[in-house]
Amino acid sequence: MSRKLPPLIRWLPFLLLLASFACHAHKPSDSYLRLKLDGARVTGQWDIALRDLEQAIGLDADGDGDITWGELRARHADISAFAMARLKLAGDGQACPLQVSGHEVDRHSDGAYTVLRFSGTCDSAPAALDIGYSLFFDIDAQHKGLLSLEYRGRVQSIVFTPEQARQHFELGELTAMRQFLSYGREGVWHIWIGYDHILFLLSLLLPAVLMRERRRWLPVARFGDAFWDVFKVVTSFTVAHSITLSLAALGVISLPSRLVESAIAASVVLAALNNLVPVVGGRRWVVAFAFGLIHGFGFASVLAELGLPRNALLLALVGFNLGVEAGQLAVVAAFLPLAYFLRASGFYRRVVLVGGSTAIVAIAMVWLLERALNMKLISA
């Protein structure tokens, strides 16, 4: 339905009053921008209407009134350059460069949109974020950029308009306590999904409810003995990995991650082997301490991915560390009573201790090979 209006219409606004009635047949121009901030890392999705891109840079190459996927695909590079030049992100005043990683297509209520996926990294996890948006503002005064910003589990919706093209977000408005807790949660989570740390700890804990006499395993007589043994192992592991985690997080020491990851796998192999062919008897806490130093570097790499807030470095570090401890304690709390209850049974000694340790050795050997040789055998 395209019709040319006669010049008379200019003198007949009454005719155009139907416009005030009919003006909602379509939607004004919007783009939909989603940003997710995860520490220093930014990922995003930007849905931009093909109608608007046609007006700005032209997509309908053959002028037939239809925009095909082929026509759109041919302009992907131009679209990336055009759009990304109109979106500026800065964390604590430092620009966070963004890179387009993919193009797709989506439909919204008013037609087809190109979908840009992009990502980038800020210098460090920002306490404040500045976003400058200027897409289409030069050609369409009614255009709006609808942003949904997600950070630390919160989602905020913001509208960019030509009058409000820059927005400032205080991400640090999170209270110190909340920040502390959020890093603590991350610590717990990374113990929980870090199987290598859990298996290392279990390998050292399995013999805690037993004692070795004349080359045989016997159950300990009192719960206190088992508890004391576990306490020594866990404490020394904790002290050791706290030291290296802090040093690495503060940038004092850094080790290549492949070396660290391989050493962690080796530590699991050795700790479990020690249960099959005991070499270190009652001094497993020494082993826990020595290898704990290695595991600390592993935690540090997780923390590096999360990014540490500049304004609350120490708080976040302590929070993360305590989270890791809490996760460990949960493992111990689940393990110790059960193991103590089963300690006198043959099942515990043969199946749990010997069988379990053998399985751990096997799994950790695979990790060791994978990490040392940089190949994929199973997914850990």
């Binding site: 003198w11 139907l18 009919a22 003006c23 909602h24 939909y32 925009i67 439909r107 919204h108 509208v159």
Partner: protein, 390 residues
């Protein structure tokens, strides 16, 4: 399965965050533009755009392109063009003393966005600087009519009498009369004006037929009104307004089965989709459900951008399709604060009646008393509402 995914999402259409997909073939058509670049409109637009691009500081060229975009917005019902027009005049519009032509263009854009007071202020400055400007007075009258300020609208028509043709003055005057208790005289005058101008364009005839139908309705002459609706539709001009008005006429008279075939290809227009959905709902057709979902998504999309242009439609949607009386009344009340055409008053009366809230209906009842607006349908609503007060 992979191939099915985009298909499924194409079918589910317009969700605000549907799942993105990668089309299977280069030939897949993603978007149909309003018209081809090769068509007459496309060529005309390209010529204006090129002229403007060569000398973007040239006021004449900027106005020609902005005007073209504004006309397109009205013809296509596509608000994107209004945004383009506004961006083009911005360099002049932000100046301390914009030229008269820019003031008028800005007023047009502002009234389109329902910023009526700002539009009137622009027109006032334009008329002060150039008292003989016909457009300033016609637009002033038209906007005051929407605000139900009939005395003000009449005063603007009087200014026109000395400046414009009899036809234009007559159109201005009968528009005011038709709203304020003089439908019979307005009908007679407008019929006469139409008879005297058999050479008038189809667009103008269509507008007059629609107005005549409305004036007949206000006098309670249903058959006469339908005759004018049909005469207007027979002109063969595509026009959403007459379709909406005729659809409302049929829906009010329990004839939904005639609405569905008339509007089935008009999903893309919000105002017509609303009527189509009403008709399907009334006729208990299964397609109503899909259309209700579609409308919900459109309202959600405009809420996301903070638009409040749709409140009258949204109120009707809430009242009759969602059965949400409090929501409908809230929307109708808020809408009536800026928009005071009869249709805005009607939804307020209906929502207030459904909520049995006589007080909420007061602004519309007050307008009905003061204006002398004659439509018997409104009179019945008022009687029932006033019955609540007792």
């Amino acid at each position: 399965m992979r191939r099915l995914i985009p298909l499924i999402f194409t079918l589910s259409l317009c969700s605000a965050w549907a799942a993105p997909y990668t089309p299977a073939a280069d030939t897949e058509v993603l978007e149909r533009l309003p018209f081809k670049a090769s068509a007459a409109e496309g060529q005309e637009l390209r010529r204006l755009r090129r002229a403007f691009a060569e000398q973007p500081q040239d006021l004449e060229r900027a106005l020609a392109l902005a005007r073209r975009y504004f006309d397109l917005a009205s013809a296509e019902g596509d608000p994107r063009y209004v945004g383009y027009a506004e961006a083009i005049i911005r360099p002049w519009s932000v100046a301390a003393e914009p030229p008269v032509e820019i003031l008028i263009m800005r007023a047009l854009i502002r009234q389109y966005r329902h910023e009526f007071d700002a539009a009137l202020a622009d027109l006032a400055v334009a008329a002060e600087r150039e008292p003989g400007n016909i457009e300033a007075w016609t637009w002033r009258s038209a906007i005051l009519l929407v605000q139900a300020d009939y005395a003000g609208a009449r005063a603007a028509c009087d200014k026109l009498a000395a400046l414009a043709s009899t036809l234009l003055t007559s159109a201005c005057n009968t528009s005011v009369d038709g709203m304020s208790g003089k439908s019979r005289q307005a009908y007679a005058e407008l019929s006469r004006a139409l008879a005297e101008r058999p050479d008038a364009s189809a667009d103008l005839k269509l507008w007059i037929q629609t107005r005549l139908a409305e004036m007949a309705l206000r006098q309670g002459k249903d058959a006469l009104a339908e005759k004018h609706f049909k005469a207007g539709l027979a002109l063969g001009v595509t026009d959403g307004f007459i379709l909406a008005a005729y659809a409302d006429f049929l829906l009010d008279r329990d004839r939904p089965d005639e609405v569905v075939p008339m509007l089935k290809d008009w999903e893309r227009s919000d105002i017509l989709l609303l009527r189509l959905t009403f008709a399907e709902h009334a006729g208990k057709q299964p397609s109503a459900r899909g259309h209700i979902a579609m409308m919900k998504e459109r309202f959600a999309a405009s809420a996301l951008r903070g638009d409040k242009l749709h409140q009258q439609q949204e109120a009707r949607f809430h009242l009759y399709l969602l059965g949400d009386v409090p929501g409908a009344l809230r929307l109708a009340e808020e809408n009536y604060r800026t928009q005071r055409e009869p249709i805005d008053a009607r939804i307020l009366l209906e929502a207030a009646l459904a909520a049995r809230d006589w007080r909420a209906a007061q602004p519309a009842l007050e307008w009905l008393r003061a204006s002398g607006y004659e439509d018997p349908l409104f009179a019945r609503l008022a009687v029932r509402l006033n019955g609540l007060a007792r």
